[in-house]
């Protein structure tokens, strides 16, 4: 016997969850299997669709050559990326042909975002096609398609005076630097930064979850409840901003389960709107998003299990995957499926594996095109068009993986998210959008493989 489902999704990041929800919507019986927690834990909680168009074919270079070779020339000659883009959809057709957005089309991006809006509460941005501009912890302003409600009062298009608050114990977030950079970026409002001491005597390197927990529970800090104590520490700085702050931004650890209540209590005491500035890892907004996505799986009746990797597969003569083998802490358990979605992440999520010998997709052994010469995997410019950023599984427009010969390698497999080749999501600011668009199509396609 094996554990049997119609569709098995491998990988529990944004792409896997989207594929599972999408296949379930089509009526399939779906199971999601994920090894470790996904990169959502480290991501900002922002859902980027397309913020910039990097120049992929600088003048004078042969666009048909491998996306890589000899791009080490004069770095400074290369044009800046186009952007920030106001409208991510209209720019899709200007991406390289091999980009996942070009395979599935701008409509798939729209549908993926709509599925997200449906499944996840507490997000904003769905009212318009245009990107919102959200300040980040590096002091940049980032074009993004959806943002958590907790970040809403911080939008850069809003002209109310802003105070950014940092904590001396939290060196990853420098409020004055954030404020200076925002001002330098010509935002249409007054902004100042202030460092305060978090009112509790936590150890130097106390975990962010510790702060969030204290605020969630409104723990007394030397006799005063944490929320009131925090507001009291910030209050004297409200006038650091010309005209007096009408909104106050904090690093994103204002509570976890009780985040909305924490923000409301602070806003009440400060007489100003309160928002969170998305952080790098560890990211509470990312964690909260993960919780909501898994809640949506539960609501959709999708079975899921995490903590266990898929390690191997069995195929029939025609390359159809019949069973996946899951390593459950030492015992190998077979999972039978009619169709499989592969959403195991990229180089970061371990869905694509690279070593000196080459680049591989380790679960099913899908072909990953890459230059044989390792010196062509990267270019000298750290911020340049890095070939390895685009490494991944190549597919047809139905997201079926293509072998070295260009033929479909596994007919009942669909690939989604960071496992796909062709996108440089970090430079384009398109990571979540690619996962949503391709997850949606992969799920729909996988459901269609199931014999009615």
């Amino acid at each position: 016997m094996a554990i049997a489902s119609e569709v098995v999704v491998v990988g529990g990041g944004l792409a896997g969850v989207t594929a599972a929800l999408s296949a379930a919507r089509e009526g399939a019986d779906v199971r999601l299997v994920s090894h470790k927690q996904s990169t959502l834990q480290q991501a900002s909680g922002l859902v980027d669709a397309l913020g910039y168009l990097p120049p992929v074919d600088p003048p004078g270079e042969d666009p048909t050559a491998t996306p890589t070779a000899a791009r080490t020339g004069a770095v400074t000659d290369r044009p800046d990326p186009e952007g920030p883009l106001a409208d991510p959809f209209e720019a899709v057709d200007r991406l390289p042909e091999s980009h996942p957005y070009r395979l599935v089309g701008a409509d798939a991006l729209r549908a993926g975002l709509a599925l997200f809006d449906d499944a996840v509460d507490g997000y904003r941005g769905g009212h318009t096609d245009r990107n919102a501009l959200v300040p980040t912890f590096g002091g940049a302003v980032k074009p993004t398609a959806r943002y958590p409600a907790s970040a809403a009062a911080g939008l850069a298009s809003d002209d109310r005076p802003m105070l950014v608050v940092g904590f001396r114990s939290l060196s990853a977030f420098d409020a004055r630097m954030v404020a200076d950079r925002l001002a330098a970026a010509d935002v249409p409002f007054e902004v100042a930064g202030a460092d305060v001491a978090f009112p509790a005597a936590f150890r130097e390197d106390a975990k962010i979850t510790r702060f969030a927990h204290a605020l969630d529970r409104d723990e007394p800090v030397e006799g005063t409840p944490a929320r009131a104590a925090l507001a009291a520490a910030v209050e004297p700085h409200l006038d650091d901003v010309e005209g007096g702050a009408e909104r106050v931004g904090f690093p994103a650890f204002l509570g976890d389960d009780e985040a909305a209540a924490v923000r409301a209590a602070l806003a009440d005491r400060l007489g100003a709107d309160v928002f969170e500035v998305p952080m790098g890892p560890p990211s509470l907004p990312g964690l909260r998003l993960e919780d909501r996505l898994y809640g949506a799986l539960d609501a959709a009746g999708v079975s899921y299990e995490t903590g266990v990797p898929v390690v191997d597969c069995e195929t029939d003569g025609a390359g159809r995957i019949e069973r996946l083998l899951v390593d459950r802490t030492g015992s190998e358990v077979p999972y039978a499926a009619e169709a499989v979605v592969l959403a195991t992440g990229g180089l970061v999520g371990k869905g694509i594996d690279a070593d000196r010998e080459g680049v591989r997709e380790p679960v099913l052994g899908c072909h990953v095109p890459h230059p044989a010469d390792r010196y062509e995997w990267y270019v000298d410019d750290a911020f340049g068009d890095q070939p390895y950023a685009r490494f991944g599984v190549r597919t047809d427009d139905r997201l079926r993986p293509l072998g070295p010969d260009g033929e479909v390698q596994f007919p009942n497999v669909r690939v989604a998210g960071a496992t796909l080749s062709g996108a440089d999501v970090a430079r384009e600011k398109s990571a979540s959008g690619v996962s949503l668009a391709t997850g949606l199509v992969a799920g729909r396609e996988a459901a269609a493989e199931v014999p009615g």
């Binding site: 016997m1 094996a2 554990i3 299997v33 470790k36 927690q37 996904s38 990169t39 834990q41 480290q42 509790a200 936590f202 150890r203 390197d205 106390a206 975990k207 962010i208 979850t209 510790r210 969030a212 927990h213 529970r217 389960d257 890892p281 560890p282 964690l287 919780d291 898994y294 539960d298 009746g301 079975s303 899921y304 299990e305 995490t306 903590g307 266990v308 899951v326 459950r328 802490t329 030492g330 015992s331 190998e332 358990v333 970061v348 999520g349 371990k350």
Partner: protein
């Protein structure tokens, strides 16, 4: 195949609690484990820190990233002492599950804890003696269960609890679990062992201490459900899985128990059986911690053939089919997935199994840790943290429709009951109600 309780108890009685009799077995034959590869693959994403329930409430705890890869590196470089914060890690293994880079965090913690206890801890200290007692729970359970009524009476006395707290640092906030009038093994022997013989479908039951001494109804439910599906059940002689010992750095103790367990389970596997456990920390120990820590003959065999009881049925039987005919009498459960179930991919199995059963309503109360983590929540200095970690689960339980809790882990069950007053059942007991006449 029924091990007598006699030999069991003698086995238990040989467990030394006398510090002078402490035999410091070299846990890692051929020296320390080489965990460099694991340590090197840490890219400091802090996912582990974010998922650590202890770091969330105890700001003196520097978190798993420090305990694991950072401490390991520090130690290699300058031969530094193990930081004593390692004793605050509850061994919930959540960090293991979180790390996207497969750094073997809990293995690193287990090793560090063992070294700390071995080399740095004063063997006459109250803390050491207390931890030794807590982790050798089975030793006391074996004695107490000979006179369960007396034991229940004594442990219920206020003065016992007072003494426990003052002398040993065991919290007086908790009630000691009741000992059963009849242990699972006594019941099994009286019953005459297995009621089904079947050379083609055999399982060896690793009942662990808790379902033997405290909740034999879980073990009985397991037997009845498995026999309903035509399995022959073996109950090999066994000792403690070692889970509480790992959590307290008592690795030589754990190893001794593991030796007996592996030897007997290998024999059962030789007889054609797969091993099943009803406690997710026991299956975790057999599947992951044994092979990580002990180089014993057959240890990988045991890991490969071990399953959790419900998991095994879901893989090998058409459980959904059987349950589609079954009915429960309007039962609503608030289900909590134990941390050790999570790492085995079992966090959702009960919810999925009962979702389709007529008359049963099951709700997942969320992914927080229950906070007790075996012996952690019994320590006087950890009790408040333990309840703070559990608070989220208690709230979600109260908010759920069910007034009956459900979980696979006996100490989580203790915590759920302690925090909400709910009666707690094991999924096997609900299966028994649904499937066995």
């Amino acid at each position: 195949m029924t091990g007598s309780d006699e030999e069991e108890r003698t086995g238990a009685a040989s467990d030394p609690l006398d510090p002078d009799d402490y035999d410091a077995v070299d846990v890692f034959e051929g020296g320390d484990l080489d965990l460099r590869a694991g340590s090197d693959s840490c890219y400091k994403c802090t996912s582990c820190d974010t998922s650590c329930p202890v770091a969330e409430v105890d700001d003196s705890f520097p978190g798993p990233k420090f305990q694991g890869p950072e401490q390991w590196r520090l130690k290699r470089k300058e031969d530094a002492d193990i930081d004593d914060s390692i004793t605050s890690c509850s061994n919930c293994m959540r960090c293991d599950d979180a790390c996207p880079s497969s750094v073997p965090l809990s293995q690193m913690h287990n090793e560090a804890r063992g070294e700390y206890v071995d080399e740095q801890m004063d063997k006459l200290s109250r803390e050491y003696v207390r931890n030794r007692i807590l982790s050798n729970y089975r030793f006391f359970a074996a004695i107490a269960s000979k006179t369960p009524r007396l034991a229940n009476f004594v442990t219920g006395l206020g003065v016992t609890q007072w003494a426990g707290e003052k002398l040993l640092g065991i919290t007086s906030e908790r009630e000691f679990p009741d000992f059963a009038e009849e242990t699972f093994r006594e019941w099994w022997r009286k019953r005459g062992g297995a009621a089904v013989e079947n050379p083609d479908k055999r399982v060896a039951y690793f009942h662990g201490c808790y379902s033997n001494y405290n909740t034999p109804e879980v073990g009985k439910a397991m037997v009845r459900v498995y026999e309903e599906f035509g399995y022959e059940v073996l109950v090999p002689p066994q000792k403690c899985s070692g889970t509480p010992m790992f959590a307290n750095g008592m690795l030589p103790d754990a190893r001794r128990h593991a030796e007996t367990n592996v030897e007997n389970l290998v024999a059962a596997i030789g007889d054609g059986a797969d091993v099943i456990a009803s406690c997710t920390s026991c299956s975790m120990a057999l599947r992951q911690e044994y092979p990580e820590l002990f180089d014993l003959h057959g240890v990988d065999d045991v890991a490969e053939h071990t399953f959790e009881a419900l998991e095994y049925l879901r893989i090998n039987e058409d459980l959904e089919g059987a349950l589609s005919e079954a009915e429960l009498d309007g039962e609503s459960f608030a289900y909590h997935a134990p941390c050790h179930a999570r790492n085995q991919g079992l966090a959702r199995q009960a919810v999925e199994t009962f979702r389709e059963v007529e008359g049963a309503d099951i709700e997942d109360v969320g992914d927080s840790c229950s906070g007790i983590s075996g012996t952690y929540g019994w320590k006087a200095e950890k009790y408040d943290y333990s309840m703070e970690i559990g608070a989220e689960m208690f709230e979600h339980m109260e908010a759920a429709d069910g007034e009956v809790g459900m979980t696979e882990c006996p100490t989580c069950a203790m915590q759920m009951e302690h925090g909400t007053g709910y009666e707690i059942r094991h999924p096997l007991q609900a299966l028994e109600s649904a499937l066995v006449e």
